[in-house]
Symmetry: C2
Subunit: 412 residues, 2 copies
Amino acid sequence: MQALPGFRDFLPQQCAERNYVFQVWREVARRYGFVEWDGPVLESTDLYRKKSGAEIVDQLFHFVDKGEREVALRPELTPTLARVVAAHERGFKKPLKWFSIGQFFRYEKQQRGRLREHYQLNCDIIGEPSLASDVELVALAIDLLRGFGLTKDDFVVRISDRQFWTEFLQANGTADERRQEILEIIDKSEREPREKTKEKLAELAGPVLKILEQGATSDRLNQIQAGLQTRGLADFVQIDVRIVRGLAYYTGIVFEIFDRAGKLRAIAGGGRYDNLVAQLSDSSANLPALGFAMGDVVLGELIRETAHARDQMAKAIQVEHQIQVYAVIAKEERREVALKQIQAMRDSGYRVDYPLTAAKVPKQFQTAEQLGARFAVVFGDEWPNVAVKDLGTGKQETVKSDDLLAHLGVGR
Amino acid sequence: MQALPGFRDFLPQQCAERNYVFQVWREVARRYGFVEWDGPVLESTDLYRKKSGAEIVDQLFHFVDKGEREVALRPELTPTLARVVAAHERGFKKPLKWFSIGQFFRYEKQQRGRLREHYQLNCDIIGEPSLASDVELVALAIDLLRGFGLTKDDFVVRISDRQFWTEFLQANGTADERRQEILEIIDKSEREPREKTKEKLAELAGPVLKILEQGATSDRLNQIQAGLQTRGLADFVQIDVRIVRGLAYYTGIVFEIFDRAGKLRAIAGGGRYDNLVAQLSDSSANLPALGFAMGDVVLGELIRETAHARDQMAKAIQVEHQIQVYAVIAKEERREVALKQIQAMRDSGYRVDYPLTAAKVPKQFQTAEQLGARFAVVFGDEWPNVAVKDLGTGKQETVKSDDLLAHLGVGR
């Protein structure tokens, strides 16, 4: 028996890597004053049907429960956010700066960087229309990746402006229903041959291809870049109007983050969606909003492929997970006093392990090494003294058992 | 639109309480040398059918996916553990000491302390038959609750011995098929009238009721208690053979943890299940095992009802979640230098917030107070100096902006 296709078992090493990613996400989001929330992993299927996006409903894990309800495993967080914010926003000071770390599900063909479940960090600012909040959000996205030791040589934020395109299409007299089509063609243009894009763009091929090939900018994009410049983050960003994001609901600044080498799928993506909360929640509250999501799968690939980020992860996991003390029970008649000391060390917060049953001393030291213990504390003939061996340096000292905690505290 | 019945939204306060519970679980489990792992929330329904327990399959959230697979949201972790351990145990040194924190699902009638989803800590020791591991596991369960500030006056571990009953029933010549029935009658006896239990016990009513009413013990139980005595934990435990645990797969020491007042459902429960891994995994590996699960719902109720535990939680959440610095932008022309300093403070790990748009100074101080900021740093006329106000003491100092980080470091 195996896990279902597209689902992961997290053995201790994988689980430690997953938790490391969560920890950095949490730590950096909090530095930005974001507070954590979460919703259920199972929601009414209607919540996802409402949001224009047939593709998402096609890819849902959905079913009818024993109470005849149509339910679905959440494919994304935004509909839940809109539901929760519409119900509770009156109790919170605006803008809300909320983040969430959770698991999401899509039934889709498996490929590199795409499973049927993944974890995602979602960061959203609700109730703030100013461009200052777009800068704050992009800066957070950059600092999240910097938190993993990734640098401007490892990733790039490609930042764009939906409104630039809306205005361009209006100026060209493009009909409303054609506008979303054009945006989808632009969204696909990097993955399709030029000729095909040209054909699909038809009457707009000339001016649109010119913009895509020569680049363009807008006042809003220039302001965002100036804001990031102030924070010393401009080198992480590239204005690139080829980014439009596929989804229909974006209204302003949008961005996607890629590895510099361009080998992987997007690491993160998001933007401003000023009308969505009202739309999804049937609420009268007009809440301008912006946010992004960052998944664990592509990010994990980039970390593992980038030496300095991989080393930082390995070191963090080691510090966080290693046993600090291994109690070597050299004489079985010392087991009882050893257990008293083990309890005292654990009560003081040390991570302590020991042999549950009698074992030869060299084997116990071997186990201590395998567990990566910092110290071995030997309970044997010297009792009421114990030998404390620093397994890093090999240095060994004899310590009164009453002084053991104080001694470890110094070595900590 | 609301969350589905039996499912929770975690607004920031609830999410902080949830994360606090996870953090204490993780911290204490690691002190005991347990390492974290996890499995998928969706598994093949067969994995749960295999394990004798029609009740569990009746309560599954299960469905057929788009690939015609019968799948289910996990109701418990043990079948996944058996699957993963059977596949990977050769790569790990025995005994495995593994823990996991995750969400589980049951479609059942809602009542106090029972939702349709909950989080559970699972702790298991695999590959160790000695009673020393039973003591280690019970000690961990006790210290997990002590980690929340709960004391021997708040909870009790009722510890029992399945083998005591097996031996008793063998000695009385009870047939194999009747044995599990008798255990289930004993399991229910505390919740049923004595007369009903007596009737159901039939030929065994005399001796069994005598044991239930007068108590009993076994060598194994006495050894467990002695082991806990050594660790100073005996006061948390009560030998109580009325506990047998409903599930068929337990083979040895079993226990359940209750609030002392006896008002709530069980906080945790578990025991030894020496045959289950082989049975569930069709593996030849004979892996004695023991473990327990602790849910977040009843534990959360007990914490909130117990003043000292509630206070500890509130304090931990405050320390962990509060903004440390609120940047007051007293003059808009200082916004740019303020943002440079905000970036520097965040880079140094401080949690910093500020007004995204122009706001009156008293309103900014009000926001700083509401966010629970430790310090307000005022960017205004005094630039390149800033005013640093300790919002706890009200004390204000003027600091050179170049010295701001050093100054905060001292106050930290």
